[in-house]
Symmetry: C2
């Protein structure tokens, strides 16, 4: 195996895992490097944050997924730099891994638009650890409110503000409202969780801005029905330990969640190429780095033209990029013609709002409400990796649906704030 080309894949998300699997029968040896030990089904991460699912439900060990693919070595480790001249990846532990071909797909993290001081007060949601920290914060807020005697402090503990009206923000706000108005009913003696205020703050004119306007409007109505106070058109100008400023308005909120900005993984900076405002790499039409055909960038880290727009940072796009990169690598190895430039196949756009409410946009075939929610649920469970995960997630949801309960309402770790 040592004399076949060495493909190093950095990042075991959708792009990295799909590329790796698509190279199963290729004459290469692959090293898949990830800082965690698992592939994460990111579209359901908000369910871990809101105590609906437990962490192992939506994650599977990378080496277990790939155990049957002998040309892959999975390594847990953090890549900190790429040395294009020496053709190696440098790791946080001081070692390095040489590559013949490199695929960088370390994705995105959350960004605070230059306000990094907001980070400790408004955690974002990208990893399982983020999700458990948010879960702890949400559950602890209700616990503290129950023990609090000062009415103003109690009100602040029962105020939850979600910043950012994209799919994640909408999911978080909708689920928070559900928890307050249904899940926790009858469990408290000193507070009424029904008095919880959930705010969804979007600086732009509407939530779910990537959807058609009619579906945005439907989503706003669904959110209002769930009791979410949606505020659009005013930016958040400050976030601190006790709340935030929405334009000129002060909102005291113990729990502020960040679902607004994303920034590309800092590894991109070490590629020494121009990056866009979010830190992403503008790649060639074949997803290679300009001037470096041996380096590919895929997934949320890459910006690729899609007609007038850019390929969106969603799971299907990352999978398609990963598979495409494998196709290019394979063509090179067998001296076949290079495949045509990467083209994104858009299967549609869906977002869930809460119990029995979602919006779906499948190429103009638009629907919302209960049927959209069922469609969303089936699609997500279908794509969830791992047979057991699917069963357990379905079971969790079935129980949650009938009982309004959430099965992972366990505070893990200590609150830092």
């Amino acid at each position: 195996m040592a004399d076949v080309p060495h493909v190093v894949v950095v990042g075991g998300g959708f792009a990295g895992l799909w590329a790796t699997r698509a190279l199963a029968s290729a004459p290469v040896r692959i090293t898949l490097l990830d800082r965690g030990n698992h592939h994460l089904f990111q579209p359901l991460l908000y369910q871990v944050a809101t105590a609906g699912l437990s962490a192992p439900d939506i994650a599977a060990p990378l080496r277990h997924i790939l155990r049957g693919q002998p040309n892959v070595t999975v390594l847990m480790g953090e890549a900190v730099a790429v040395d294009k001249a020496a053709r190696n990846v440098q790791l946080a532990n001081g070692t390095s891994i040489a590559y013949d071909t490199l695929l960088v797909c370390t994705g995105a993290t959350h960004a605070y638009f230059g306000h990094d001081e907001w980070a400790p007060h408004a955690p974002g949601l990208k990893t399982l650890d983020d999700a458990l920290a948010i879960r702890r914060r949400i559950l602890t807020a209700f616990e503290r409110a129950e023990a609090e005697t000062d009415p103003a402090r109690r009100a602040a503990l029962l105020t939850f503000a979600v910043v950012g009206g994209g799919p994640t923000g909408v999911e978080l706000a909708g689920t928070l409202a559900e928890i307050a108005h249904h899940t926790l009913r009858k469990e408290f003696r000193n507070i009424d969780p029904d008095n919880t205020r959930v705010l969804l703050l979007e600086a732009g004119p509407r939530v779910l801005s990537t959807f058609p306007e009619a579906l945005s409007a439907k989503a706003m109505r669904s959110l209002a029905r769930l009791g979410v106070d949606v505020r659009t058109g005013v930016p958040v100008s400050r976030i601190d330990a006790s709340g935030l400023m929405l334009g000129e308005e002060r909102i005291d909120a113990h729990t502020v969640l960040w679902a607004a900005g994303v920034a590309a993984s800092p590894l991109a900076r070490t590629l020494d190429v121009p990056l866009d405002r979010a830190g992403r790499v503008a790649v060639e039409p074949d997803l290679t780095l300009p001037g470096h055909p041996e380096i590919f960038v895929a997934g949320d880290l890459a910006t690729v033209k899609w007609g007038e727009r850019l390929v969106p940072g969603v799971a299907p796009a990352a999978k398609q990029m990963g598979s495409y990169v494998a196709r290019v690598i394979r063509a090179r190895l067998t001296n076949q013609a290079a495949p045509p430039p990467f083209g994104y196949k858009d299967f549609g756009n869906l977002a869930t709002i809460g119990r029995r409410a979602a919006v779906v946009d499948l190429h103009g075939f638009r629907f919302s409400g209960y049927f959209a929610w069922a469609f969303w649920l089936i699609a997500h469970v279908f794509f969830l990796i791992g047979f057991r995960n699917r069963i357990v997630v379905l079971l969790d949801w079935a129980v949650a649906y009938w009982t309004y309960q959430r099965n992972a309402r366990i505070v893990l770790g200590r609150e830092q704030k």
Copy 2:
């Protein structure tokens, strides 16, 4: 409700929860205080540590369990002292809670026999956070071994030492051997997990010393069959960052787990009464504090005579003590005769060793092997709190049984060591 006596229960473990539930129809108001938000099914905690179950599988929010009992207020908070004169419990956040009757059942934590410097190198297993830290350590050791090129360091990474041959130590060692020899098979390219060394170190003459000798011997044979190297009769004299000293023998081990000593919760010290060597409170036959009939101590925190021996620190004993305390409180409220002194009803002793191996001692009716394992499994699932938990745990185990897989092999958080 304000003019009925206020019963404060500190600790939502088996003793506290059983006492609280048994007071459901009593003319009292109850405050149940716990530093977490959940009741933990401690007997299965080792399954979370060894990645078989996820944390929410074995825990349920206390306020959810008690939502239908209107005379209970559940509070999340940490009791740091009891003021017997003022009759209140002081909390870490500076507030205090006044009581008419107090039940202290904060249980035990692990103790290092005066070697507190061993704590960072040999984590113990008492809370969900402990379990997740141990899980992280175990899984990360295999990950690091895969990336390690130095043979000695690699061998140390693949050496796991469990200190203490009680039920927890036996369970941990047996499960570690199963993981190494079955679960991880075919998943690594540079190491063979089959070369893992699992040691079980017991200073006394035999493992499971509370069981009859014949069952101890069976357990030793089962462990040996699983590939566990059991060492009895020699105490651990040192634990450091890279391993331990077993008497005069140096053992390089990246992962050392502590299952040896327990010490009562430090809250006992603030009761200002004589404590035994492990910090436990010697209570009156009715489980009250000597000279303070308004204060009860139950569960692992209390030492109670049981013939020549002491009531063991096991879940059934804690539940019985909790129910007994409720009976005493009820009798006082209704001016009935006090119940007879607390008597422990021993239903038997069981310990599992690994896949299809367990030992059971039911009053002289002793058995081991597959049938004992099935008995252990049914008993534990039956007693697990919460309908959903039972189903999910059974499902996890069924899948694990047929596939040799473990469903929670997800590294959460960062390794500190």
